[in-house]
Point group: C2
Chain length 107, copies 2
DNA sequence: TTATTATATAATTATTCGATTATATAGATA
DNA sequence: TATCTATATAATCGAATAATTATATAATAA
């Protein structure tokens, strides 16, 4: 059983188009900031600030690899989120279309 | 499958302590505005405005009975909400403690 | 009719929030 | 070393939001 206040905090985090998209994308594979920038068509600082909120809320964790920072899902302790994600469309195509993979970005 | 935008709209609605509490309370039984005011310890206009948002978002529907307006859940078409509510504590005790039921309120 | 009760609406205020812009940091490379 | 790249942080701005206060509406009761 989850306290209402804790649930509300998490729902506020996922109740944003950019952050919810980030979490769905991370279901496909770990991604770095520049990849989110490309897929979500927004600025690097915008992504960085959303990632900080998600990290503070315990929804993602980060791993530094050289100059890149890879983010991964940390929602194992929040099965209600996994339930929720099942109702939302796969972002597989978006991750596969990344042009980063063809260039010298993030490797 | 639900569009991300639609999901975000609904998550914004439930990502508020007062509104999420209202929805959980409505799982027990239909309630009128004055009962929410008593249970949630807030003002009547505050409840009314939250109810309007929930109604606009299609999460509740209203039934007028004399001078009272009873609200009920309208989440049959949103199973992901029913899933979510399962993780949250029952509000049965709060509804049962209503002093309204002993007085001339809401009958 | 007038008064009372339940609810809704409008106006206001304070706060929060998402995005942008500018700047800083830290690692990689020349 | 100096420079370039990826990311983070800080500052600012405007929009959205929750709550309060005041007022309106609508049904009931006296």
């Amino acid at each position: 059983m989850i306290e209402i206040e804790n649930m509300v905090d998490t729902l506020k985090l996922v109740g944003d188009k950019c952050r919810l998209s980030i979490l769905l994308l991370l279901q496909e594979r770990d991604l770095c900031v520049c990849e989110f920038v490309e897929i979500l068509q927004t600025s690097q600082p915008n992504i960085s600030q959303h990632m900080r909120k998600l990290k503070d809320g315990g929804l993602v964790k980060e791993t530094k690899k050289g100059q890149w920072v890879y983010y991964s899902l940390a929602t194992q302790d929040k099965p209600f989120l996994t339930d929720l994600f099942k109702y939302l469309p796969s972002q597989k195509d978006k991750v596969e279309k990344l042009t980063c993979e063809d260039s010298n970005c993030c490797d």
